[in-house]
Subunit: 280 residues, 2 copies
């Protein structure tokens, strides 16, 4: 496997969010030659959508995805309706940014519920409700299967196969507008990963997120590693993605309370560039 | 779903290990009317095998499983050979105890390795190496799929489907001696759980471990909940087990640094009894 095209590196701004707002992250990407960026909506709202659009366009960056939509599960109908309305707004924002997708973290169990099958039905219904708007807006929905350790409180879609089953159920004729985000952190362990990436194919592979799984992992949420510092065979997974037809960006997304969030973001981005070249 | 037969409650001694040695756990089970026990090898060695056999027999307890064998993965052939030899000793101990199975926690990535497919091959080879001895000893091997968050450092077998694939590969003609341990903590999130329990059937369902998944979970290893305190739909999973033909014990196994390990084990066992009746 040859080294990846450095022009395909993208920054998910969660990686630098403790020290950089969105304007700084945009400037930082430009300064370091990172050509793709994935903003989060809270920072987008802080900066303002129009200024963000101008800054991103001014630097010629690609918006690899907007983080995030989803969170469809709720204890009552009013909560589910509010979630759908929020997703429609997110789609409009993603459209304004020219984002390549809206990333969906689907939501876990509603408060007080033990019915994970029911939660999964809520997710299906939620995505079905926003898919027409996504198609109109020209913003594909990228279902991100999250690691099973987040099944209760973040996302009840936990494997790539399950996400693709959902795509097949809601977009049976492959009309587009629906696919998956493959984040190595969530799926690296899956014995069916290679086959499911192949099954997804170019049409459904909308995003590729990279980081690493540390041993030991000290925190369930915010202890992701920099590429190369953990146990994920990144070149192998990238090869599977490419063989399946994915030609998009490689988006660094690192939640790291104990390490990378404490560092100077310029160092984090430079390290990401170096590790992308050397370890991915 | 009617309440479970209280006579099917068993204690995995990990639940009480911080305050009770094995002799105390055996006496505790007898005192509280818990009819099954699953010892761990370190405590078994401390007590001595013959005294343990006598005490367990004296109280008429069933040994639902010996914890644990496995850990087949290693960086070199000498390490893998040592693991196999240790598993053979574990089988002899399990035989002496009349254990219903030897629980296999398969092992994760060898130190320095990122090759999870290779680790899985090592596991397959390790189980193949000890299966004849298990059959001779009359101690079935129970492959325990562990939650994917342990894929790197504890077990690279992470779903029930994957464990059953391994059973089918190594025991193609269902000659016996090989099956699975279903621990709700590891598999509750799996969208294929019901189907895989059905697939396993009576012949391969060797053990059933219960506890709960807490929200939030504060530690990857030692923050399991008491049945009823988390989000797992225990009656539903028990129903699937019974429908598949499983008629064995329901073994409470709670690793809980922050809560249950700090309490009086008599309280823990009594609470387990009450929750088993009410929440399982």
């Amino acid at each position: 496997m040859s080294a990846p095209d450095p022009g395909l590196l993208a920054l998910n701004t969660a990686t630098t969010r403790k020290r950089w707002g969105l304007a700084q992250a945009i400037a930082g990407c430009a300064r370091h030659g990172v050509r793709g960026i994935a903003p989060w909506r809270d920072q987008l709202h802080e900066m303002g959508i129009e200024p963000a659009v101008q800054a991103i366009r001014g630097h010629g960056l690609t918006v690899t995805g907007l983080c995030r939509g989803g969170m469809f599960t709720a204890a009552d109908a009013a909560g589910r309706k509010a979630a759908i309305e929020d997703n429609l707004r997110a789609l409009d924002e993603a459209h304004a940014l020219g984002a390549q997708c809206l990333v969906l973290v689907t939501g876990g169990l509603p408060t007080g519920s033990k019915d994970i099958a029911g939660a999964r039905e809520q997710v299906r219904d939620g995505i079905a409700a926003i898919l027409p708007h996504a198609r109109r807006a020209g913003v594909p929905l990228a279902i991100e299967p999250l690691h099973p350790m987040y099944a209760a409180d973040r996302a009840c879609i936990n494997t790539l196969g399950q996400a693709l089953d959902l795509c097949d159920a809601l977009d049976a004729r492959s009309e587009g507008g629906l696919g998956v985000a493959v984040d190595v952190y969530h799926v690296w362990w899956d014995p069916n990963l290679e086959g499911q990436i192949e099954r997804a194919g170019k049409a459904r592979l909308l995003a590729f997120h990279i980081c690493d799984w540390l041993v030991p992992t000290r925190d369930l949420l915010n202890d992701r590693g920099m590429m190369g510092d953990g146990v994920i065979d990144l070149p192998r997974i990238r090869a599977w993605m490419q063989q399946a037809g994915y030609a998009g960006f490689h988006e660094v997304e690192i939640f790291s309370e104990l390490d990378w969030w404490r560092r100077d973001p310029d160092e984090v981005v430079e390290t990401s560039r170096e590790r992308h070249r050397r370890c991915c």
